[in-house]
């Protein structure tokens, strides 16, 4: 109802295809960015960083990645956990092999490595579709986890197979390791998220994004009108894996600091990220954010309510948390199968059409 699009007209295609064509949206976006970069860092403490913000930022990156593959290109993947692991182990190997390499580059390179691995596991998608593919991607999940667990080279022969992040810094601020301050870690991850979200947006609105969506909506027709299915699917796998790899690298190096592959990158991660994009909304960048926020915040919120406020035993709280999260997922799917993004779109449409009902 507060949208005023009258008089907001476009004289060039560049204006017409920008990300936020509505003036008010554009301003909202600038404000959110300003708050995230200039205000939040001053109010954030260790708890908020570790329990809420970092998981949110990192999962949002992973969700963006999976959304590109599943939401935009229509290839359901349950291998996210495995690709996160590739990102994590790649960053560990790169960091320890090249101690002087800038951490920012390390994270990007981890993404590149993961992209390569992702493409490899994307090859079957040329023949396999739908659920069959979803289950097939589990092969990546299990095999990769097994590989990192089994081959000592990946964890530098440490006794336990755990990897621990060495301290790395940028501009004199520690980014990784125990001495990294909350705001710094937050800003580091935020920068990646904003950057990658921007990239995701660019890719999805251009030729590549359209070819992904074409494959998703009707693969045969897409091929017949000239979309190369091999290139489209593999590029989706590559880009998706790049994102997830970056998320994995951040997950390990900035967020947790030490991981054990089977536990940190298990199948539950794959499901979690898939939940995020379904609840958030398939084929929507905003949805990736919303889904990640939802699934990071709801458990924390429930826990705080039940344990800290109501003083319930922790196990009952967890059981109820499971029920609530599961119930919410079902409820969401019933109420709005296309996720939070669709709710947002509908709300926005409502406001755009206000006062008209349709």
């Amino acid at each position: 109802m507060f949208y005023r699009q009258a008089g907001d007209f476009k004289t060039t295609y560049r204006d017409d295809i920008q990300t936020f064509p509505l003036k008010q949206d554009r301003w909202g976006y600038y404000i959110v960015l300003a708050v995230a970069f200039l205000v939040v860092p001053f109010f954030i403490n260790d708890y908020w960083t570790s329990a809420v913000m970092l998981p949110f930022l990192i999962y949002a990156i992973a969700a963006l990645g999976l959304n590109i593959l599943t939401g935009y290109c229509g290839q359901v993947s349950l291998g996210t956990g495995g690709f996160l692991a590739v990102g994590a182990y790649a960053s560990y190997k790169i960091m320890t092999s090249f101690p002087d390499l800038n951490i920012f580059i390390v994270v990007l390179l981890s993404g590149v490595v993961t992209a390569a691995v992702g493409m490899l596991f994307g090859i079957p998608s040329l023949r396999i579709k739908g659920f069959y593919l979803a289950v097939a991607t589990l092969a990546a999940q299990f095999f990769l986890v097994w590989l990192f667990n089994k081959v000592p080279w990946f964890y530098n022969n440490s006794a336990s197979g755990q990897i621990s992040v060495p301290e790395r810094s940028m501009f004199g601020f520690a980014i990784t390791g125990p001495n990294a301050d909350a705001p710094v870690r937050y800003l580091f991850c935020l920068t990646f998220l904003v950057l990658l979200a921007w990239v995701a947006r660019n890719l999805t609105r251009g030729r590549l994004g359209r070819s992904w969506m074409a494959i998703r909506d009707m693969d045969i027709a897409a091929e017949i009108i000239g979309v190369n299915p091999l290139k489209s699917k593999l590029s989706a796998f590559a880009v998706s894996s790049f994102f997830i790899g970056v998320a994995g690298a951040l997950f390990f190096s900035v967020y947790l600091g030490a991981v054990e592959v089977g536990e940190a990158f298990g199948i539950t991660q794959s499901f979690l990220v898939l939940f995020m994009i379904i609840i958030g909304g398939l084929g929507s960048i905003f949805g990736s954010f919303a889904g990640a926020a939802f699934l990071v915040l709801v458990p924390v919120l429930l826990k705080n309510i039940m344990v800290n406020w109501l003083g319930w035993p922790t196990d009952i709280a967890v059981h109820i948390e499971f029920m609530v999260v599961g119930g919410l997922i079902v409820l969401f799917l019933i109420a709005e199968p296309h996720g939070l993004a669709q709710l947002w779109r509908l709300a926005k449409d409502k406001f755009l059409l206000w006062p008209f009902p349709h």
């Binding site: 109802m1 507060f2 699009q5």
Partner: protein, 656 residues
């Protein structure tokens, strides 16, 4: 670039030159084409038009030639005006939708040598009549689609001509100077444009207007509403209509504002919203249909939203107009209006693309007072205007702060009014046309020796100096007691009620006024549904007592209104009936343009009319009808006739 001194700004091309100088980098024109608003600055516009003009010159257009413009609101068609005028040629815009026969008449009558068409469709139309248009030499077109394989000997694309023009300008630097000199040499008294009246009666007449006519009218119009180069308007009305010509061409050049051309007919609502014009002009039907859309869409709203809309619209009805007029309202209402503005009026204006409207006009025919008030109460400064092609539009207009729904305002700047004995309105102004082309007889009968022009409309001027238009002068009749009987006026008043579809009023040479009413099926059936009234057919609904009650209230309201106006009080409706069937063009009761054929109806429903005047309370009637599949049948009913109360002027005042 050479700018002409102010004093010699007496033709439109000269204004173009001035604007390209003064407003060089401001947007002059936009056209939603290929998905975005392609824009031209004044400097670019000047260049385009000059190239076009030179191109026209190359194919032989010269002073005095007539160039027809056939098509909708496209920039290049607008440019044709200036490009032709710069060469002294006379543009003749033609209604693009008019039937071939009519178009042929105009093209032939105007002796056009050149015709500019929008697209293949128009080209085909014009080419189909070339045999009967010996004067026609060249055809130009804007959109090339489908024309690739046409014979291009006499067919030119405007863009191609512009290219040729540009090339010529490069090749011959003197050409530009000569061109400017040609413009300088022209003067305000020359024939500027010929606009053909739509000709509801008889053949269209070519109204010759001079630069002085249009320029002064435009300048006066600008001054009246303080319009300047900051305005943006959307051009969507027929080019051949004088309203569009003045708004999208005359005022555009004189004020130097920006004209935006919509993408297509279907996208006009979106395009208007995108542009959000600051100055808007539309005939009442546009406002009516917009309001209908709003109402229909709001009917589907949920409970909360619907209630909110109703509540705030009631607030707006109560105080919206007052606030717009700057009158004082109580603080609570003011506050409510503010809230309403946030939740309803603002968004609504936004949806209509009227958020930025400084002034909007409705003209052409009478607008329903409810419709008029609706827009004003939303905070849109909508005004009424009374004008004619022969006057270069402006005769009267409502000044800010003096807006009354039932008047058409005070005389515009430099306009004098005169009321003839029979109530016909005459005017005299600088905008008065030069004459009808090749029709001196008509010119003489319309324009008097001393410059007064007959409008053909009957009206009166009230105490505040506002003009009221009642009806076409020739349609106004008299009751037997001598009082005035304006049937259209009465019919329109009734038709403004949504539940009334059609009205036929009788009274000329009779004792009193009566009406036959057609209910509006959509509106009344909705109402019936809400009130749990069961009915099986139109006939049953029309004769339902509750419907009669409702119509009775409406008629009563009209009678009260009429009684307030001394000259109309005698025409109050004494008796009315609700017709048992819808008046239908298939049965010959309406014209194909949905106008009532009064005499035919009077004959067909003679028993009913007798009933209206012989005092009976009901009448049986049986009529033959044509069904949709062409079969014929009988439809019969006993129609109830009701008596109304008549108010005396004093009586009402006492009761009030």
């Amino acid at each position: 670039m050479q700018s002409s001194p102010q004093s010699t700004l007496d033709t439109f091309p000269k204004y173009l030159i001035r604007n390209s100088d003064v407003h060089a980098s401001r947007a002059a024109m936009r056209h939603k084409n290929y998905g975005v608003w392609q824009s031209w600055t004044w400097a670019e516009l000047f260049e385009e038009i000059r190239a076009y003009s030179i191109g026209l010159q190359l194919i032989g257009l010269k002073a005095g030639d007539k160039i027809a413009i056939v098509g909708s609101n496209r920039p290049r068609l607008y440019w044709t005006f200036a490009a032709a005028q710069a060469l002294g040629a006379v543009p003749v815009p033609v209604y693009a939708e008019s039937v071939a026969e009519e178009m042929e008449f105009v093209l032939e009558h105007a002796d056009v040598q050149y015709a500019v068409c929008q697209d293949q469709e128009q080209v085909d139309k014009v080419q189909s009549m070339t045999e009967r248009l010996p004067a026609l030499q060249h055809l130009l077109y804007d959109e090339h689609r489908g024309l690739r394989e046409y014979n291009h000997d006499k067919l030119h694309s405007i863009a191609g001509l512009q290219e040729q023009g540009r090339a010529a300008l490069v090749a011959n630097p003197d050409l530009a100077k000569e061109w400017l000199q040609g413009i300088d040499a022209s003067h305000g008294g020359e024939l500027c444009v010929m606009l053909y009246t739509s000709g509801t009666t008889g053949r269209p007449k070519g109204v010759m207007l001079s630069y002085d006519n249009l320029l002064l009218s435009s300048l006066n119009g600008n001054a009246f509403d303080k319009l300047d180069h900051n305005e943006e308007i959307i051009a969507y009305l027929p080019l051949a209509w004088v309203g569009d010509h003045v708004f999208s061409y005359g005022q555009f050049l004189t004020a130097g504002y920006c004209v935006c051309c919509p993408e297509s007919g279907e996208t006009i609502d979106i395009d208007r919203r995108e542009i959000a014009p600051t100055y808007f002009f539309a005939p009442p039907r546009v406002f009516e249909s917009l309001l209908t859309t709003i109402t229909v869409r709001m009917d589907d709203a949920g409970k909360v939203k619907g209630a909110m809309y109703k509540y705030f619209m009631a607030v707006a009805e109560r105080c919206g107009e007052k606030i717009l007029n700057g009158q004082s309202v109580n603080i609570v209402d003011k506050l409510k209006y503010k809230v309403g503005n946030l939740f309803v009026y603002g968004p609504l204006r936004n949806q209509l693309g009227m958020s930025r409207i400084k002034v909007g006009y409705t003209a052409g025919e009478a607008i329903g007072p409810e419709i008029f008030s609706f827009y004003r109460s939303l905070g849109i400064n909508l005004k009424q205007l009374y004008g004619q092609t022969e006057a270069s539009v402006y005769i009267t207009a409502q000044p800010d702060g003096e807006i009354y729904p039932d008047t058409v305002g005070k005389p515009s700047i430099d306009v004098e009014l005169l009321l003839a004995d029979d109530g016909e309105v005459l005017y005299r102004s600088p905008g008065v046309f030069m004459g009808y082309y090749k029709n001196d007889e008509a010119t003489r009968s319309t324009k008097t020796e001393d410059g007064w022009v007959h409008t053909g409309d009957a009206g009166f001027i009230d105490d505040d100096g506002h003009l009221h238009i009642i009806d076409r002068a020739k349609d106004v009749g008299k009751l037997l007691d001598g009082s005035m009987f304006p049937p259209k006026y009465i019919e329109n008043k009734l038709k403004f009620f949504p539940s009334i579809q059609e009205v036929v009023a009788f009274g000329d040479q009779r004792d009193f006024a009566t009406v036959m009413i057609n209910i509006d099926l959509t509106s009344v059936s909705n109402w019936a549904e809400r009130n749990n009234i069961a009915y099986a057919s139109y006939q049953e609904l029309a004769s339902h007592p509750q419907v009669y009650d409702m119509i009775r209230e409406h008629v009563d309201q009209v009678n009260r209104d009429l009684s307030e106006e001394p000259r109309m009080a005698g025409a109050q409706i004494k008796r009315f009936l609700v017709l048992h069937k819808e008046l239908d063009a298939d049965d010959g009761e309406l014209t194909r343009t949905q106008k009532v054929r009064r005499s035919f109806i009077a004959e067909r429903y003679l028993p009913l009319i007798e009933g209206l005047y012989d005092g009976s309370t009901e009448r049986f009637i049986s009529t033959e009808v044509v069904f949709e599949d062409g079969r014929r049948g009988e439809i019969s009913a006993t129609v109830r006739i009701e008596e109304m109360e008549i108010y005396g002027a004093s009586e009402l005042r006492e009761s009030a």
